[in-house]
C-alpha cells in the first residue's frame, strides 16, 4: 500500500534524478521553482502539424509598406502549423502521486481545445481513449500558476503503479517513480519519453 504512494521529498528527489538524466540526454526538462519548497518539472516540445482549416489565423489588414528587404528570405505560406506543447509534472498532495498538467498552444499563444490537442497527437482519438484505462482528463487551474491546464487526473495512478513497484520491490530493483509513471502517462498526451532514460537509469542506480 504505502509502496505505491510518493511523499513530497521522494517526489523532489525523483525529479532531481530525472533532471540529471534529462541534462545528460539534453532533453529539455527544467525545474521551475514555486514559492518555498514547491516547484514542478516543465518541458516544452514543438511539433509541426499539418494545418487544419479550423485553426485559422486572425488577421487585421493593415498593410504598411516597409521598404522591400532584399536580404530577408520570404517563406511561402506553409501547409503546416507549429504547436507548442507544455508539460508540467506537479506533486499532488491529495493523491500523493505526481500529476501531469499539460496544454498546447499555437505560436500566437492561443490554447488548443482538448480535441485539437488530441487530434494532433493521435489520429484516432476515440479509439485511443476507449482502450486506455487512465483517460481521466479534466480542465483545471494549475496549482502554482493559476492558469487553465488540462490535467491527467491522478486518481488512477496508484492502480497502474502498484504492480510496477511491487515487481521492482521483489526483484530488489530501484525504480524512479516519476520516470516510470511518466513513461506510462506521457505518450497518452503526446509526450515521448526517450528509451535512453530507462537505459541510463538502470546504469546509474541511486544509493
Amino acid at each position: 500500500m504505502s509502496l505505491c504512494l510518493l511523499d513530497e521529498d521522494s517526489f523532489r528527489s525523483s525529479c532531481k534524478l530525472l533532471l540529471q538524466q534529462s541534462e545528460e540526454l539534453r532533453d529539455s526538462w527544467t525545474w521551475e521553482p514555486g514559492s518555498s519548497e514547491e516547484g514542478y518539472l516543465k518541458k516544452i516540445a514543438l511539433k509541426s502539424v499539418v494545418i487544419d482549416s479550423s485553426l485559422k489565423w486572425n488577421l487585421i489588414d493593415d498593410d504598411e509598406g516597409e521598404a522591400a528587404d532584399v536580404c530577408g528570405l520570404s517563406e511561402g505560406s506553409s501547409s503546416s502549423q507549429v504547436f507548442q506543447y507544455e508539460y508540467h509534472i506537479v506533486y499532488s498532495c491529495s493523491y500523493r502521486t505526481p500529476a501531469l498538467y499539460f496544454r498546447a498552444c499555437t505560436l500566437e499563444g492561443r490554447s488548443l481545445s482538448l480535441e485539437e490537442v488530441w487530434s494532433s497527437v493521435h489520429p484516432n482519438l476515440r479509439l485511443r481513449l476507449k482502450h486506455c484505462p487512465l483517460n481521466t482528463i479534466t480542465q483545471q487551474e494549475h496549482p502554482l500558476l493559476g492558469q487553465p491546464f488540462f490535467l491527467l487526473h491522478p486518481c488512477r495512478t496508484q492502480d497502474f503503479m502498484r504492480p510496477v513497484l511491487q515487481a521492482a520491490h521483489q526483484q530488489n530493483r530501484s525504480v524512479n517513480y516519476v520516470l516510470t509513471w511518466l513513461s506510462v502517462v506521457g505518450p497518452l498526451v503526446g509526450l515521448d519519453v526517450p528509451l535512453h532514460y530507462s537505459i541510463s537509469s538502470s546504469s546509474t542506480k541511486p544509493d
Binding site: W57, L59, E66, A67, S74, R110, L129, H196
Partner: protein, 734 residues
C-alpha cells in the same frame, strides 16, 4: 540549390543555373538576359530567414496581470526578454519565443538558449495601437543598435545586435490581444555577396575538426559562465579549433585576410542563416570592412536527438562584406514581422476561451460531458441534450433538483414558472435557495432560482416567470380583472410551451398540472411529469400525440395493453384517474400539498425526471419511443443509455422502482381527443368553463360520469384502471 534575390525571376534563374551548372553567377547577366533593368544588384546575395514570433499562452496571462496590476494606464516602453534556440529539428520555423517569464528580464534563460532583449509598447486603446508610428519605433531601435556599433559597446555586449520590439494592445473585456513584432535589422543597400556557397559543416570539416569545434564551444560557454554564446570568433587548423568572444577581435585576429566568425544560429534551413547574423555582419563591415577580404561564417547549430548530440549540420560559408564610408549615417532598417498571409500587418489572438472565467466554466463543463461520451457512451448525442430548451413548471423541491440535474447535463436553456415566494422552510429542501432569500417576505422563487442558476454557471440561459397557472375548479370569473388576468396567464403559458422542447410538470398540486398537460398535448411537446407522495413517487413521460398533419393515429395492431406501447399511445398523468382534477375531497393522487415527503425523495425523483428526458432524447424516435417496461431490463436496451420507460414508480420504503406502462385513456380529462378538440376549437372560452365549473364539467364532457354510473351499477372495475397502475399508485392522502 541557390535562391536568388530577384523573386520574380526565380524560376528563370533556377533554369538558367541548372543549364549552366555554375556555382556562382552574376545576377546582372540574368537581368540583362531577361531584359529587366534592376540596376545596382549584382552577384549572389545572402538571404536571412526572419524570426517568427512564438508566444506561449503564459505570456498573455502574465501581460494581463501586468496590465491590471502594474502598468494600468502607463504606456511607457517596458523591457522584456525572449529567447531563441539553435537545436530545433528541421522543419520548424526560426522562432523568437516569449513565455510567462518574459517580464522577468533578470530571470534565467532556458538552458542552451540565447536571450533576446526587447521593448514592449503596450497601448491603452486599439486606436493608439493602430496609430503608433511603426517606422519611428523601428528607426529608434535601429539607431540604438547603430550607436552601439559605432561606439564599440556592441563588441563587448553583442546581445544588442539581436533585439526586438513588441507592440501590443490587450482588450481585456474581450480577451483579444493585438500584437506586432519587429526584429530590427540594419541593411546593406546592395546586400551581401556570397563568395563561398553555404555548406553543411561535415562536408567542409573533418570529424576531428568537428569534435574540436564542439569542445571549443563548450569551453567558451564554461568560460563565459553560460550555456549559449550568441557570437564568437574562431580560428582552426586541421586538428584544432580555438574560439574567443567577439570583444577579443584585435588580439585574436592578427591576420585579417580571412577571418571566421561564429553565430549561434536558430535557423534550420541548410542554405540560409537566421536573423541574428544580420546585424553582426553590419558590425563587422563597419569596423573592419575595409581590411577584410572575405569573412567566413559558421552558423552554429547544436541539436540532440534521441540522446545523441550533433553539430554536423551547422552551416559554413564565405561572404564579401561591403564597406561603410567613415561617418556614415545609420543605414536603413527593416524588421516588422509579416502576418501569416505574408502581408505587413499586426496579428490578433482571441484568448477568451482560456482567459474568460465564464468561457472557462463552459468549456470545463462541456469537457466533462464529452469525456463521458468519449469514454463510456460513444454514441451519446450530447448536442441533442445540451440544446434542449426546458420549461420547469414549479420551482420548489422538484424544480430545484430538476434544474441542478439539467445543468449537470449541460442544458443551457432553463425557464422557471412559479408564483410562490421562498419561505423559511424551503432552503433546506430546495437547493437553489438560502436563508437570506426568505427575508422580507421572501423572494419570488422563479426569480431567485434564475439568479442562483446564473451564479452556479454563468453560461446558463435561464429565465423566470412569477405567474400563476389557472386550474380546473378554481374560478377566475370573480371580475373582469381576474378573468383577463387568467387569459393573459393562459396566453403566457401557451407561448412558453411553444418556445420550449420539454415541459417538466413539477408543481405541488394536481390541478395545476391540468392546463399545461392539455396545452402541451395539443402542441405535441414532450412532457415529463414528477409527483411525490410521502415515500413514493411517480416520474413519467406523457404520451406524445401523433403530429397533427398525419391526422388520426394509425392503430398499431401489435401492441397489447401493457407491453410494446408506442409513445403516441401512452397515457398522461390524468389518464389513470377516473375523476377530474379540481375536487380535492376525491383526489387520491400524490401531490405534496397534502403530505410531506421524505427529504431524499425530491432529489431522487427530480434526478430521475431529467435522466428519463435524456434517455428519451437519445432514442431515435424521441417521445414516440415504445415504452420499456420492467421486463425489458433483461433485454437489449433501445438507447445507448438504456431503457426508455413510460413511468418510473418508486417506493422508498422498499427502495424499489417499477416501470409500468399504460395506454392513453379515451375518456381522459386532459389528453382525450374530445378535450383537445374543444381546447383547439374554443381556446380560452373552453378553458374558462373548465376553471369556473366543478369537476363534473370535464367528467360529463369526457363521458366519465356515464362511466361511473355504469361501473357502480355493474360493481366491476373499469377496464382501464388495471391492476398494475392501481396497485402501484401510492396513496398519499391517508
Amino acid at each position: 540549390m541557390i535562391i536568388v534575390v530577384l523573386m520574380c525571376l526565380k524560376l528563370m534563374v533556377l533554369l538558367f543555373f541548372s543549364l549552366c551548372n555554375l556555382a556562382v553567377l552574376s545576377v546582372c547577366e540574368v537581368t540583362m538576359a531577361s531584359g529587366t533593368s534592376e540596376a545596382g544588384s549584382s552577384d549572389l546575395k545572402l538571404q536571412f530567414a526572419p524570426f517568427s514570433s512564438a508566444l506561449e499562452a503564459g505570456f498573455w496571462h502574465q501581460l494581463t496581470q501586468k496590465k491590471l496590476n502594474d502598468y494600468r494606464l502607463d504606456e511607457s516602453p517596458k523591457c522584456i526578454k525572449g529567447y531563441y534556440y539553435n537545436g530545433d529539428p528541421v522543419g520548424l520555423p526560426t522562432r523568437l519565443t516569449l513565455e510567462f517569464s518574459a517580464f522577468d528580464v533578470d530571470g534565467p534563460t532556458p538552458v542552451r538558449c540565447c536571450p533576446a532583449i526587447g521593448t514592449l509598447y503596450n497601448t491603452n486603446t486599439l486606436d493608439a495601437f493602430k496609430a503608433t508610428d511603426k517606422k519611428a519605433l523601428l528607426e529608434k531601435e535601429a539607431k540604438e543598435i547603430w550607436d552601439a556599433i559605432e561606439s564599440g559597446t556592441a563588441l563587448k555586449d553583442p546581445s544588442i545586435l539581436c533585439r526586438f520590439i513588441l507592440l501590443t494592445f490587450a482588450d481585456l473585456k474581450k480577451y483579444h490581444f493585438y500584437y506586432w513584432f519587429c526584429f530590427p535589422a540594419l541593411c546593406f543597400s546592395e546586400g551581401i555577396k556570397i563568395v563561398q556557397q553555404p555548406s553543411v559543416l561535415e562536408q567542409v570539416f573533418s570529424a576531428k575538426q568537428i569534435a574540436a569545434l564542439q569542445e571549443a564551444y563548450d569551453d567558451l560557454c564554461i568560460k563565459r559562465g553560460t550555456t549559449a554564446v550568441p557570437y564568437f570568433l574562431m580560428k582552426y587548423t586541421d586538428d584544432t579549433v580555438r574560439m574567443a568572444p567577439l570583444g577579443d577581435w584585435e588580439a585574436f585576429f592578427t591576420d585579417t585576410k580571412k577571418v571566421t566568425v561564429g553565430v549561434y544560429d536558430p535557423c534550420t534551413l541548410s542554405q540560409h542563416p537566421g536573423w541574428p547574423l544580420r546585424n553582426l555582419l553590419i558590425l563587422l563591415a563597419y569596423r573592419w570592412g575595409s581590411k577584410l577580404d572575405t569573412v567566413e561564417v559558421l552558423c552554429f547549430r547544436d541539436r540532440t536527438m534521441q540522446g545523441s548530440r550533433s553539430i554536423h549540420h551547422s552551416v559554413i560559408f564565405q561572404v564579401k562584406l561591403p564597406t561603410f564610408a567613415p561617418n556614415s549615417a545609420c543605414p536603413k532598417s527593416v524588421g516588422w514581422e509579416k502576418n501569416p498571409k505574408g502581408a505587413m500587418g499586426p496579428r490578433m489572438v482571441n484568448l477568451s476561451e482560456c482567459m474568460d472565467p465564464k468561457r472557462l466554466a463552459e468549456s470545463s463543463v462541456d469537457l466533462n460531458l464529452k469525456l463521458m461520451r468519449w469514454r463510456l457512451v460513444p454514441s451519446l448525442d450530447l448536442d441533442k441534450v445540451i440544446n434542449t430548451k426546458c420549461l420547469l413548471l414549479g420551482a420548489g423541491t422538484l424544480g430545484c433538483n430538476v434544474a441542478r440535474t439539467l445543468m449537470g447535463w449541460g442544458v443551457r436553456h432553463i425557464t422557471f414558472v412559479d408564483n410562490a415566494k421562498i419561505s423559511y422552510s424551503n432552503p433546506v429542501r430546495q437547493p437553489l435557495y438560502e436563508f437570506e432569500d426568505c427575508l422580507g417576505g421572501g423572494k419570488s422563487k422563479a426569480m431567485a432560482a434564475v439568479e442562483r442558476l446564473t451564479k452556479i454557471f454563468p453560461g446558463v440561459n435561464a429565465e423566470g416567470y412569477n405567474m400563476s397557472i389557472p386550474m380546473p375548479g378554481h374560478p377566475v370569473n370573480f371580475s373582469q380583472t381576474t378573468l383577463s388576468q387568467a387569459q393573459r396567464d393562459v396566453e403566457q403559458l401557451e407561448k412558453l410551451i411553444s418556445e420550449h422542447d420539454v415541459v417538466f410538470l413539477l408543481m405541488d398540486t394536481r390541478e395545476s398540472r391540468w392546463l399545461p398537460t392539455v396545452i402541451a398535448a395539443s402542441k405535441r411537446k414532450l412532457v415529463v411529469n414528477a409527483a411525490l407522495g410521502f415515500d413514493t413517487f411517480v416520474v413519467m413521460r406523457h404520451g406524445l400525440k401523433k403530429p397533427l398533419v398525419t391526422g388520426s393515429a394509425p392503430s398499431v395492431p401489435g401492441s397489447s395493453l401493457f407491453s410494446n406501447i408506442p409513445g403516441h399511445k401512452l397515457g398522461c398523468y390524468f389518464c389513470n384517474d377516473v375523476v377530474a382534477p379540481g375536487d380535492s375531497t376525491r383526489d387520491r393522487t400524490l401531490d405534496q400539498q397534502c403530505t410531506v415527503s421524505r427529504p431524499g425523495l425530491a432529489m431522487i425523483a427530480g434526478a430521475l425526471a431529467v435522466e428519463m428526458m435524456v434517455s428519451i432524447l437519445q432514442h431515435t424516435e424521441g417521445g414516440y419511443a415504445v415504452a420499456s417496461s420492467s421486463d425489458d431490463r433483461m433485454n437489449e436496451p433501445p438507447t445507448s443509455l438504456g431503457l426508455v420507460p413510460h413511468q418510473i414508480r418508486g417506493f422508498l420504503s422498499r427502495f424499489d422502482n417499477v416501470l409500468p406502462a399504460s395506454l392513453a385513456f379515451d375518456k381522459c380529462t386532459a389528453c382525450s381527443p374530445i378535450v383537445l378538440d374543444h381546447y383547439e376549437r374554443e381556446g380560452f372560452q373552453f378553458l374558462s368553463k373548465v376553471f369556473n365549473s366543478s369537476h363534473s364539467f370535464l367528467e360529463d364532457l369526457t363521458g366519465l360520469t356515464l362511466l361511473h354510473q355504469e361501473t357502480q351499477a355493474a360493481e366491476v372495475n373499469h377496464p382501464h384502471t388495471n391492476m398494475y397502475t392501481n396497485s402501484c399508485r401510492p396513496n398519499s392522502c391517508s
